[in-house]
């Protein structure tokens, strides 16, 4: 509590004042609870600790490829709850050199009799490598509409950074595909299927 002005003879403290400060604390901490949500995202984005890979990577210069080093990248694909699609990587794993752009495909098939939209959410393990795994093109950047009975190959173009810590020799990229319901008209135009 702040000290009272000296000329007043020891005035008793006001309850209203204590209540105001306490309520300010309560409101502030309630807001802080919600502020944790964006703070967490920013923190994870900077540190990469929750394995969430970042968005589209724009390579600024043609990076040198480190031919002396090979990193194994494994791919996993799984479905979220109640997602009926067939979803799997075309290749289980590839060996890449840090710095080279590599394209891989994921196979998706909608076996149901209704048009659907899926959204893939990536996760990289070990999370230490998250900051060094760049995607220049990924089907996970957009929602994926797929008509009833259709199948598609969805591309991913990635570069493993040359700065990847040397003790990491293997990265595992896992996608979970979630059902996003019926396609909406606007979304069907953003499709990036039919590649390779």
């Amino acid at each position: 509590m702040a000290e009272q002005p000296a000329h007043k003879p020891a005035p008793p403290r006001s309850n209203a004042r204590v209540i105001r400060w306490c309520l300010a604390g309560v409101v502030g901490m309630f807001a802080f609870g919600f502020a944790l949500v964006p703070l967490y995202d920013v923190f994870c984005d900077i540190t990469g600790i929750n394995g969430k890979t970042s968005g589209r990577y724009e390579s600024t210069e043609a990076s040198a490829v480190d031919m002396n080093r090979t990193v194994k990248v494994q791919f996993l694909a799984q479905n979220g709850p109640d997602m009926p699609w067939v979803f799997r990587p075309v290749l289980r794993s590839v060996e890449v050199h840090p710095g080279e752009a590599t394209t891989v495909n994921f196979y998706a098939e909608n076996p149901t009799d209704r048009d659907m939209v899926g959204q893939a959410v990536p996760s990289l393990s070990p999370s230490e490598g998250t900051l060094y795994f760049h995607k220049t093109e990924c089907f996970c950047f957009n929602q994926q509409p797929l008509a009833a009975g259709q199948n598609t190959k969805m591309p991913l173009v990635f570069i493993v950074d040359q700065d990847l810590p040397s003790h990491i020799t293997k990265l595992t990229l896992s996608y979970t595909l979630y059902d996003q319901g019926e396609p909406q008209v606007a979304l069907t135009n953003t499709t990036i299927i039919d590649n390779g």
Binding site: N15, V26, G33
Partner: protein, 525 residues
Amino acid sequence: MSAVADTHAQDHHHGPASGISRWLLTTNHKDIGTMYLIFSFTMFLLGGTMAMVIRAELFQPGLQIVQPEFFNQMTTMHGLIMVFGAVMPAFVGLANWMIPLMIGAPDMALPRMNNWSFWLLPCAFLILVSTLFMEGGAPNFGWTFYAPLSTTYGPPSTTFFIFAIHIMGVSSIMGAINVIATVLNMRAPGMTLMKMPMFVWTWLITAFLLIAVMPVLAGVVTMMLMDINFGTSFFNAAGGGDPVLFQHVFWFFGHPEVYIMILPAFGAISHIIPAFSRKRLFGYASMVYAVGAIALLSFLVWAHHMFTVGVPVAGQLFFMYATLLIAVPTGVKVFNWVATMFRGSLTFEAPMLFAIAFVILFSIGGFSGLMLAIAPADFQYHDTYFVVAHFHYVLVPGAIFGIFASAYFWLPKWTGHMYDETLAKTHFWLSFIGMNLAFFPMHFLGLAGMPRRIPDYALQFADFNMVSSVGAFMFGSTQLLFLLIVVKCARGGEKAPANPWDGAEGLSGKYPHRRPTTPFPLPQK
């Protein structure tokens, strides 16, 4: 404006109202304290009954008594009721009764809000308990209600659970504001902060913890509410959310909450041990600073509850060391209690027995906490019965024994009568033996790999589980004896002198016993 005088002016005490409205409308800190304590004990028996269901099911391997779905509801409701319904209200009740007496105030600073904050609690728990009878059953996701178990997969009653948490959070926050206003504004002249009794100090710090973290709990359940009912994706990975975020926000509340449940007990024990050692408390200032240090550190250790969800090595090291650091101020407190007893003139009445058991058994719980804090070892212990043993060792002989010790210590002050010492000692020994029988074998079960929150278990765990169940039934049924002792004491018995314990110090012993609705006179300036 002068709040002290205002409060007094609003206090139109012409004797208590009669009948039910005396309790519904009371603004007297003693009445409200009594209601908090009665409510807390009722919830203690209800949560204890659920624990009995759990232990009965775990008496033997296999499914005998309840189905796994109901078992999960029992573990969840037992935890929620014990934390929010038994332990926290008991300490608010003790605060209501004792803080004004200890600091020489006529009542709490905000008596009407005091009434309101109490009466919110029965409403909250009526809602929470009613979920047991709803379609789909009560919450079944554990008292930590991790998303997405509680959001995507929770029963329909989850929304009622969220509402109940909101109400009890409001109640706790109002209680905390009341304590802060009382302690800051209404101390007797000359009672500086560093002259306050330890119980008042610990409660003041607890109140600040409550103000800091209960809103975060309210926030996290609000996010759940929005995820469940309004289509947001705070914790839903499909919509870009993150379930791990839930655990971070929850434990940011959850770890300080642990200290909310123990710090007032620290304070009460710091009165009881000196009284029965007939010495002054050893190291008063270090006790105050230790409580402050524990409270501050409690904000920096939350992720030790979630080492296994994938915290980077640097984070694990930070949270491990920060957690281990808490042992230092806690060790200071234990040292000071022991030093207070050292070469004291000890007698072993029931409050002292509970207090000594508190010091010893809480230390055991603290040590198993240190084991759990070691990140590489935690991967082995996580979600096993070792964790259950640990937190029951800090909460039962910690919080609950602290409350029993306080109750016996202050019952003469509350009722004007002495309690039955023989029965009280019987209560202590049966509780002590029952509690250790119930929870000590859980250490071994956990180290051997028995997972928590599972209604069935492998055959090799059978013997220890049977011992544990017998101890739990013993501990549980003994608490009816406590009820008998308190009722007996309230109805009559040997008249207690104003200061029934000859070693006790402080203002509360200076007041004669009064009819409970009579306010104490204002301190004279």
